[in-house]
Amino acid sequence: MREFTYTNTDPEGIHARPAGILVKRAASYACAVKIAKDGREVDAKRIMGVMSLGVKCGMEITVKCDGEGEDTAAAELEAFFKENL
């Protein structure tokens, strides 16, 4: 399993639209992708769960990739977070 932490810098947090972009991206990987915040973990491929985390600007989250192609997924997702969230 590969994981990284990220602090959200989008002033609006992960609201509906960025959550949508993130879910689409996560769904493109074969491995499982989870996001954890304050001990709660959700499937990054499911939009309701991602939105329910209520990630706001400045909050730290942990992203975990587990399974086929986890190395590539983790590296690409980390870049994706920096670029978009």
Binding site: T9, P11, A16, R17, G20, M48, S52, K56, K82
Partner: protein
């Protein structure tokens, strides 16, 4: 009759009130024997609902733009959400109930989850979940979407409006929205702002106002039903004034900032954060003349990281898409205090340890910011300016640090763009040596607020000094003139970014002095443009 509510967008609308009636969607719980067939019924209806949402997305994209349309894409993804789907299908399979009922319960459960969140924006999403569930139920029940039942434009009154409902409404028939529920974050509110029509929420109306004449005052947050002649006349006038004002300013959009005799000047906007950028673009500024970077430090409990700063700067330059963005480095101290800087108490902070003085004494803080700015410069057109300069030596020390930062970036293979370097002219000392300073930098930006306070030795926070204060004091105007002349002699262009820049009584004076750029708050852009276009320097 007068009813109070909360305004989500200003303006005045007058017309017939029309109460929006939703299709009655009665969901009954029934038992099904073939649960697999019922699951397929649900899946087909869900597909159909997604097709409708895709069509709505296209319609919204054309009518109200991408940002308002995006919600329909999110709605499609919500219907695709596995947690949501599993909830519906499990209920059908394990309880042997009909798809409609399973959808209604699932919609309620998920919307309760959002309603319970500690975040107003997310609370408002509860309505989205209900909306998508009702959409699938409508498909199952063969109910069509409601249309506006009117030939003439109306003020639409509703309990609440789902985004899919607002977007389907014929926009040419809408004068205003009035709802009992809803929030300032709701899509109805966003749509009202996009469509530029007044809207009220939280209005406790009764059903019998349907068909009556009404006035919406989006400035006061008031709805008048059957108003008297006097009120109607008052609002008719107000509406005319608003229209005229908007028309005049709208006409100026896209027009050059050029005087009658053909002299052009750059007109940029001052911003204090990423959230100000939309208003810069809406008001048609050609760039950002002062990006106060303090917000990054003031909104944080610790020093903002290079990454955080980089993201903020990059977002702004990318949104400005090639237009100039002048970032002023950290101007902390004096009236802007931040705990984690641990600045000692000073008896005279305006003349104390602040701005560039902190940066030169604590180069770590300075270099973090410069690295973030240089990295962001790769994504657009960035310039940097340094506040509170009093000597040529300071500028040389800054240049050394900038060179170190560039070398570090080169060593790490990080790309950056061409960055113009300028200084703020806001101390009388800087004014007197502008001839020397001009040779060292690409531009000057005159900060008239501090320059006035230091020149006149008047603290603007002290109301007892108001009778001594003269915003147009000849000493300040001469300082500006001298800065412009010496700047040009040394090859530096000269702008004004303080409050005087937006003072239309001085616009002609500045033009005659040869000022190259004015940077004003976004809401003042079009007014200053009007003043520029009114000038004739040949007379």
């Amino acid at each position: 009759m007068k009813m109070d509510g909360k305004s989500v967008f200003g303006g005045v609308a007058m017309g017939r009130l029309s109460i929006y009636k939703k299709n009655d969607q009665v969901v009954k719980r029934t038992r099904v024997s073939d649960t697999e067939a019922e699951v397929r019924r649900y899946e087909n209806a869900s597909e159909k609902a997604k097709e409708q949402l895709a069509a709505l997305y296209d319609k919204a994209l054309k009518e109200v733009g991408e940002s308002s349309a995006a919600i329909f894409e999110v709605h499609q993804m919500m219907l695709d959400d596995l947690d949501y789907q599993e909830s519906v299908t499990n209920m059908i399979r394990t309880q042997g109930i009909n798809a409609e009922y399973a959808l209604a319960v699932t919609g309620d459960n998920f919307s309760e989850m959002f309603a319970a969140m500690d975040d107003d924006y997310m609370k408002a999403r509860a309505a989205d979940v209900k909306d998508i569930s009702n959409r699938v139920i409508s498909v199952l029940q063969g109910i069509q979407d409601t249309e506006l039942d009117s030939e003439e434009p109306v003020i639409l009154v509703a309990e609440d409006l789902a985004p899919s409902e607002t977007v389907q409404l014929d926009k040419s028939l809408l004068l205003s929205f009035v709802t009992r529920f809803g929030s300032t974050n709701s899509h109805t509110a966003i749509l009202a702002r996009t469509m530029n029509i007044p809207a009220l929420i939280g209005v406790d109306f009764s059903e019998d106002i349907d068909g009556h004449f009404g006035i919406v005052d989006g400035f006061e947050g008031t709805l008048y039903v059957d108003p008297d002649e006097e009120t109607i006349e008052k609002y008719r006038k107000k509406q005319e004034e608003e229209k005229e004002k908007a028309r005049l300013l709208q006409e100026l959009k896209g027009m050059p900032n050029v005087t009658k005799d053909g002299r052009e000047i750059k007109l940029y906007a001052n911003i204090g954060g990423v959230g100000d950028v939309p208003s810069v673009l809406q008001n048609d500024a050609a760039g950002i003349g002062l990006f106060r970077s303090e917000f990054l430090y003031l909104e944080s409990d610790t020093f903002p990281t290079e990454e955080e700063q980089f993201n903020a700067y990059r977002t702004v330059v990318q949104t400005m898409a090639g237009k100039k963005v002048i970032i002023r480095t950290l101007d902390i101290g004096a009236d802007k205090q931040v705990d984690y800087f641990n600045l000692a108490h000073e008896d005279n902070p305006a003349m104390g340890y602040r701005a560039i003085r902190i940066c030169l004494e604590q180069p770590d803080i300075f270099k973090t910011q410069l690295r973030a700015i240089y990295r962001a410069s790769y994504y657009g057109n960035i310039s940097i300016m340094f506040p509170m300069i009093i000597s040529v030596d300071e500028v040389k020390r800054i240049q050394e640090i900038v060179d170190e930062v560039k070398k570090e970036l080169d060593d790490h293979g990080l790309a950056y763009g061409d960055v113009e370097l300028g200084i703020m002219i806001e101390t009388p000392a800087a004014v007197w040596i502008t001839e020397e300073l001009a040779k060292e930098v690409d531009f000057f930006s005159i900060g008239t607020n501090d320059l006035t306070q230091y020149t006149l030795a008047i603290d603007r926070q002290n109301p007892r000094l108001d009778s001594f204060y003269d915003a147009h004091h000849p000493a300040v105007l001469r300082a500006i003139q001298m800065t412009v002349e010496n700047g040009h002699k040394g090859g530096a262009w000269v702008g004004i970014c303080g409050e005087l820049g937006a003072d239309t009584a001085l616009t002609e004076t500045f033009l005659r002095m040869g000022v190259d750029e004015l940077s004003v708050s976004p809401s003042r852009i079009l007014a200053v443009r009007a003043a520029i276009r009114d000038c004739d320097l040949s007379k």
